[in-house]
Symmetry: C2
Subunit: 362 residues, 2 copies
């Protein structure tokens, strides 16, 4: 499915290391599929220059300039809080559909349900792909994940937009190199864009969060020894904590990897919520899993993009000594220590399972 895509990525007004999450993940993990980025403010530069990665992908100022790079799809590369469609983008989406480009969107607003967009798509033969559209068959969770042999590992975070998807994607190939069959389970629009399947758990009806998490974990476990589930939000996030806990209780991870940004002291856009120490965060996460399935935090993934090399290495060393856990920035440095922690945990669980006669799921 991913082979023929060639995206013009809409990041108007927001292209930057922290502000255009969907665009950035696309540029990092499927760069060959990105024709150009549309953002007036950084137009004329290249992705490498704006983000620190992404090579020569050009940034253009308007739709006609983007079209010159021969995209076959427009990707909405920004996720505003609330996930609604900003009306300022309407003309660009209309232009794209008129030009026969598919439109990929991870917003809560279902672009396919918009009458104007639907009519333009029908006229030009373009397809509108709403990545957050929930499957119509979801049910409530019932603990089915407990029957899996695969080891399930979930990333959890001190905050949203801190690297929970990125950590899993970075670690995935290292885990594979250690000899395990590993799958990534996408739970957000960006992860789904990269992986080609998954469910946006923040877009389902509230009663079905855990049910959706259960369903996508079961799907990802097929043919895998280890499932890396993309985390969402934070257990202390004032707007999104419900999604976080529902995902935890539906996916029922055997172990968790904690993601944090050392420079961040309060919740994004909610400065009234201080972020507790990592020790306290670990206690909160492990405590919230305890009654359903004891699940230790086994490693820490730091996001140090805004620190210089010395500060970043100091932060990693400080967290390692504070938590006693393998710690790295899996984007900036080698993700292997996290992969090794996951591999060791999996092998130990397997050994216990076998020696226990496999009589109880652990």
């Amino acid at each position: 499915m991913a082979l023929s895509r060639r995206f013009l990525v809409l990041a108007e007004g927001s292209f930057g290391p922290l502000s255009s999450k969907t665009a950035n993940a696309c540029i990092r993990y499927v760069p060959d599929e990105v024709a150009a980025v549309l953002d007036r403010g950084t137009a004329g530069r290249i992705a490498q220059d704006v983000l620190g990665f992404g090579g020569n992908i050009p940034v253009v100022a308007d739709f006609p300039s983007g079209l010159a790079h021969r995209p076959n799809a427009l990707l909405i590369g920004i996720a505003p809080a609330g996930g609604q469609f900003p009306d300022a983008w309407r003309p660009i989406v209309c232009d794209a559909l008129r030009a026969g480009l598919d439109v990929w969107s991870g917003l809560h607003t279902m672009l396919g349900d918009d009458h104007e967009f639907a009519a333009l798509a029908a006229a030009s033969g373009a397809t509108i792909r709403d990545l957050r559209r929930a499957p119509s068959t979801l049910g409530v969770a019932s603990g089915l994940v407990r029957d899996l042999d695969a080891t399930v590992v979930l990333t959890v975070g001190t905050d949203c937009n801190i690297g929970k998807m990125t950590a899993q994607l970075q670690v995935q190939s290292s885990v594979r190199q250690l000899g395990h069959r590993v799958n990534f389970a996408a739970t957000g629009q960006t992860g789904i864009l990269v992986e080609g399947r998954g469910i946006a758990v923040d877009a389902v009806i509230a009663d079905f969060i855990a049910g959706a998490a259960e369903s996508l974990t079961l799907e990802a476990a097929e043919g895998a020894d280890i499932v890396l589930v993309e985390g969402q939000g934070s257990i202390i996030h004032p707007a999104y904590s419900g999604v976080t806990l529902g995902l935890m209780h539906g996916a029922l991870p055997h172990a968790m990897v904690l993601c944090a940004q050392p420079s961040r002291t309060t919740i994004h856009r909610n400065p009234w919520v201080p972020i507790p120490s990592l020790i306290d965060m670990i206690r909160l996460y492990e405590g919230a899993m305890e009654s359903l399935r004891p699940s230790p935090v086994i490693a820490v993934a730091l996001n140090t993009f805004d620190l210089d090399d010395r500060e970043a290495r100091n932060a990693i060393e400080r967290v390692r000594s504070e938590t006693g856990l393998p710690t790295t920035d899996p984007v900036r440095y080698e993700p292997l220590v996290i992969a090794e922690a996951i591999s060791a945990f999996h092998l130990e669980r397997l050994a216990e399972h076998v020696s226990g006669g496999g009589s109880t799921a652990v």
Copy 2:
């Protein structure tokens, strides 16, 4: 709005103290609006006899017998897990709409969107009221509840279906008698049915759970000194915990009342999840609030319906001594001790607020 309703309550196959939550709440809190209950299994008896309350409300075996009691609306009085519409009820709903009865439903399935039902309603002039239909204007939570002067009290539970709505409704008039202006904030279809307003937080898009909780708390706080928010689910419920935590972080209670059923040792329909001690549950709930707004559990409401009087009094005494908190069964016995705990907490908070110069919301 409530004055002219006269319900035939559909509880087919499930009428009983624990199994027909919506029906039972309606019979308990607005008995004058219940014409009859439809349930073949208990037909011929009266509500008092089946539930232990509800007086002479008759149970009938079929729709024509129900019609003889001159209802003007059919209420779906059962909420199956998942909230979907069982097709076995279709003929009864069709009969009701043909007879011109309004249909009230708290299911996830939106009966108003069903083509057959909509056509029948249009033909007879009946109205279909889907209590769980989410407002179209919801946004993400942003901590606005922190600006309220009113004291917000949330019920939280060891499990779902354990008395979180009932406890608030029972306590409400006692709090009023203690001299406070008090409002009930409904968060589920049954509470909305009783109160006439509210939002079913389990039926909104997952990202908007806390936003919905914030919005309904703000609405209920108008003209109130104390807001009693109806809790949902449990922080350890494998299917519904996301709704529970999102509601907590959106409503931002100043204090919580813990609801529990002494005879229940595992989560309803999920025997693989043991319910921890009440001390551990209190620790979990207080810990989950700590980073956003420290919120103590100030009382315990027990549901002792399945114990005899001596067992019930023993259970209450045991919990009181174990937790050190005012404890009662607010349905079976006097709810005053919980109302007094809420009143005392409110007055103390007010005093601190005044002596602190009102400079910071607490």
